[in-house]
């Protein structure tokens, strides 16, 4: 790559000559690959010696050196090694996404609203420009509190970059930039491919060990037939060959791992050097090393998949010891970047005050935040205004949205952006208004979640409970993007607890129905794409006219007696073209249930936008027949709108 010397040299000249460093590391890597070939050759010889020795003991071989036998043994051994290597390589060819997802990574959406994630994506784009590689996919491992990152993939085009939550939350911009630049140089220097190949080789050598072990254990049960001296001889030969294979595989595997670690260590220096080339700044990378040293979690990665991938990470994840480290010590890496630095005292490194409790230990993921709930009065939101229009005036909606957002207590909108607190908010909105049942629910949650969390929950419940539903819905909307950041297991647990809380209430009220429906609509699509089929109601399918009747009847019956319901229903259908040109009829109140409603919503979700608009307008008319849109009616309209896939503006304040 051509570099204008004046530009970068000025910045780098004083710290290091990275071209030289790259060249040196590359030369060493070649030597290490040569060692690897030597290791394979010596394995072939030692297997031969073992087999020949066994045959000689059995009397089948006059001389120790027997070219044909050697050719056979060498061929078989190489075949095993190459076969194992090929198998593993094909397995790894699936690319970086498989690796990242295997480690519990979550892809960062390009339109993310989270400032830190936005910053991460920006930095990745910058580094893509600086290094001249395509922009890789970015993953965050939310459950990892350590500071670490990895690059995976076989080609720059299928590469992914993953960072831990600790990395995202604790590092400053320039430090994160250093870490990302380091990973980019792994992509650009072809380290990923080399690493994948080394993993394949090691597996090939380990295959010998496996075959040897199988051979030995299969002979344990074989009994030599009496009087058959020859049979006994064959057994001895097989047994000794098995031992030879096993030993050669074990010893070879050990050295292969040591070599891999050494290759990896060299590559890390090279990547550090290239990272400086990309960012033109050593401070960021050094700062990141210092924070890893000072952070109590260090660079630890807990995912069980991480061990096999340790050489792909940014820093040692605490996985290998005894000279098998895949990364050089932090002090050495800092010294390599800045030869003038003195030994760093990691205890004095200051870390930003970020709440990392709840990351990493799944059982405590909802506990561990301060329980300083607000004692301020909940914002008063005036109820009731007739619905004017549905989604025509954008400016007006924006204004309303802003008013509602302003109306929401700062503390809650902040809480909605926090992974643990957002879950508490959801429960705070769900708890029963009946004090006795509420206590029961809290008790149940206490067993599931811990005390601290329940205290905050009950405080918030008191302040949030009386809020207007428009404000609650706005809070829910704020929570949804945050909840998308939960890990899959956390999400499953949240769902379980939600089901329990709602069931403990003994009756599913409108808001609960709405909340559960809205959560599962937005989140299961996010969590279960391609894995599980979306749960689509209870399997009822309804025609549009029937569905229209169901929804309109629900609206009409809501808060009215039979006379009022009939009046509201008539008001709603008057002047509208009926669906499928059938006369709509009001269903009796006891014929309605949540299954029917879900089926009706599903039917309209498939309908054309114009039909959706019409049914919404009709529902609106039914609700506002008396000229007033109550709190509950507004909620109900939101359920319908959300259920048929229309974003209804918050028209109430």
């Amino acid at each position: 790559m051509g570099v204008s010397p004046g530009d970068r040299g000025a910045v780098l000249g004083k710290t290091m000559n990275f071209f030289e460093a790259q060249e040196k590391a590359r030369r060493r890597t070649k030597w290490l690959v040569a060692y690897f070939v030597c290791a394979v050759i010596s394995i072939v010889f030692s297997v031969y010696v073992g087999v020949a020795f066994a045959l000689k003991l059995a009397g089948a071989l006059p001389e120790l050196w027997h070219p044909e036998l050697f050719a056979f043994v060498a061929g078989a051994t190489l075949l095993l090694i190459l076969g194992g290597t090929a198998y593993k390589s094909i397995d790894l060819r699936r690319g970086g996404r498989a690796v990242a997802e295997g480690m519990g990574g979550r892809p960062v959406q390009p339109d993310t609203g989270d400032l830190k994630e936005r910053q991460l994506l920006n930095i990745v784009e910058e580094m893509a420009i600086a290094s001249g590689t395509p922009v890789p996919l970015v993953y965050v491992m939310d459950q990892e509190a350590g500071i670490n990152a990895f690059a995976a993939g076989t080609e720059p085009s299928n590469a992914v970059i993953g960072v831990t939550r600790g990395c995202l939350d604790l590092l400053s911009r320039s430090e994160l930039q250093g870490v990302i630049a380091h990973e980019f140089s792994h992509i650009r220097n072809g380290d990923m491919r080399l690493n994948m190949r080394l993993v394949g080789f090691i597996f090939g050598i380990l295959v010998l060990m496996i075959v040897g072990r199988v051979l030995i254990s299969s002979l344990r049960y074989a009994r030599p037939s009496k009087n058959s001296k020859e049979g006994g001889g064959v057994l001895v030969v097989l047994l000794l060959s098995g031992f030879a294979l096993f030993l050669a595989g074990a010893i070879g595997g050990f050295f292969a791992r040591a070599i891999q670690a050494a290759v990896s260590r060299q590559r890390e220096f090279l990547a550090d050097a290239s990272a400086v080339q990309f960012t033109r700044d050593t401070d960021g990378l050094i700062g990141a090393f210092k924070k890893i040293g000072g952070w109590k979690e260090g660079a630890r990665v807990q995912s069980p998949q991480a061990a096999a991938m340790s050489h792909m990470f940014f820093a040692e994840g605490g996985l290998f010891r005894w000279g098998m480290a895949t990364h050089p010590p932090l002090q050495v890496r800092i010294r390599a970047l800045d030869p003038n630095s003195s030994k760093v005292n990691f205890d004095s490194v200051s870390l930003p005050d970020v709440d990392m409790a709840g990351v990493g230990s799944p059982s405590a993921s909802m506990a561990g935040f301060s329980s300083s709930a607000s004692t301020r009065e909940p914002p008063a939101i005036k109820a009731a205004e007739t619905l004017a229009c549905l989604g025509d005036d954008i400016d007006w909606q924006l204004e309303r949205g802003q008013q509602i957002c302003v109306g929401i207590d700062e503390e809650w909108s902040a809480a909605a952006r926090d992974r643990s607190k957002a879950q508490v908010l959801i429960f705070a909105m769900l708890l029963s208004g009946d004090p006795r049942k509420c206590r029961e629910q809290l008790e149940g949650l206490r067993q599931g979640m811990g005390r601290k969390y329940v205290e905050t929950l009950s405080e918030w419940h008191e302040t949030i409970g009386p809020l207007h539903s428009a404000a609650k819905i706005a809070i829910l909307d704020l929570c949804i993007p945050t909840l998308k950041r939960l890990s899959e297991s956390e999400y499953e647990r949240l769902l379980q607890m939600l089901d329990w809380v709602i069931a403990a209430d003994e009756k599913v009220d409108l808001f609960e129905f709405m909340l559960q429906h809205s959560l599962s609509r937005h989140l299961s699509r996010h969590f279960f794409t391609g894995k599980r089929k979306l749960e689509r109601g209870p399997g009822l399918t309804k025609g549009l006219s029937e569905s229209g009747d169901i929804l309109l009847s629900m609206m009409a019956w809501n808060g009215r007696d039979s006379k009022g319901a009939a009046k509201a229903f008539k008001f709603a259908v008057e002047g509208s073209t009926p669906f499928e040109s059938r006369v709509p009829s009001l269903l009796p109140e006891d014929a309605l249930n949540s299954e029917l409603v879900l089926a009706a919503l599903a039917a309209f979700e498939e309908a054309s936008p114009l039909l959706k608009k019409r049914i919404l307008e009709m529902c609106g008319h039914a609700a506002a027949e008396d000229g007033v849109l109550s709190n509950e009616e507004a909620e109900l309209l939101r359920v319908v709108a959300d259920g048929i896939g229309v974003a209804l503006p918050p028209f109430l304040l």
């Binding site: 400032l115 784009e125 001249g132 400053s172 930003p352």
Partner: protein, 193 residues
């Protein structure tokens, strides 16, 4: 016979000339494309600055003059960028000067902003300044790519024998995009963490 040899020579010369000409065109397009990448980022930067000032306005009431100066520097840079032809040395010098001026104004602005903790912790401000930071970084990284491409092209039109073709068809040297003052590098450093 002599005629035939001469004819062969002429054909070879023509083939070489065509190849060299096409090579120069390819390099020229490469650096122009690299400039387009800078241009995109510069435009984005110019679009972001009014947002930044708008957000800062309500917090920095006593810094009217600075804010106005920032906007002026931004307008100067935006008009220098507008309709710019990267082959025109004078226009490029103008853009570089305007960008340097804008860079030093931004440094001054961020230095002042340090004194307003409310502004620094404002969500909107944090977003805009993050976008601005990444745009600054992208400008400087794509500037490197542009300078590499331009240097490659400049070398090609100066060395023998391609300089003959360059002279015949009037290929002009590309202008390197250098930022004269240290200020632009400094502004990259400002971050809100």
């Amino acid at each position: 016979m002599v005629l035939l040899a001469f004819g062969v020579l002429v054909v070879f010369f023509l083939l070489w000339a065509i190849g060299a000409y096409n090579g120069l065109i390819r390099l020229r397009n490469m650096y122009r494309n690299a400039f387009a990448q800078i241009d995109v980022q510069l435009k984005r930067r110019h679009d972001l600055i009014p947002n930044l000032v708008e957000t800062a306005k309500s917090f920095m009431k006593h810094e009217r003059e600075t804010l106005e100066a920032v906007i002026q520097a931004r307008n100067a840079a935006a008009s220098a960028r507008d309709g710019l032809n990267p082959d025109d040395a004078a226009q490029m010098q103008g853009l570089m000067a305007a960008e340097a001026g804008l860079g030093s104004m931004m440094t001054k602005f961020f230095a002042l902003a340090e004194a307003y903790p409310d502004l620094k912790s404002n969500q909107n401000m944090m977003q805009v300044s993050e976008e601005l930071t990444t745009t600054e970084n992208k400008v400087s990284f794509s500037r490197q790519a542009y300078n590499d491409a331009a240097t490659l092209y400049n070398t090609k039109i100066e060395v023998v024998p391609s300089n003959i073709i360059a002279g015949m068809f009037n290929f002009k040297a590309a202008v390197l995009f250098e930022v004269s003052s240290e200020s632009e590098r400094e502004v990259v450093k400002v971050s809100f963490d």
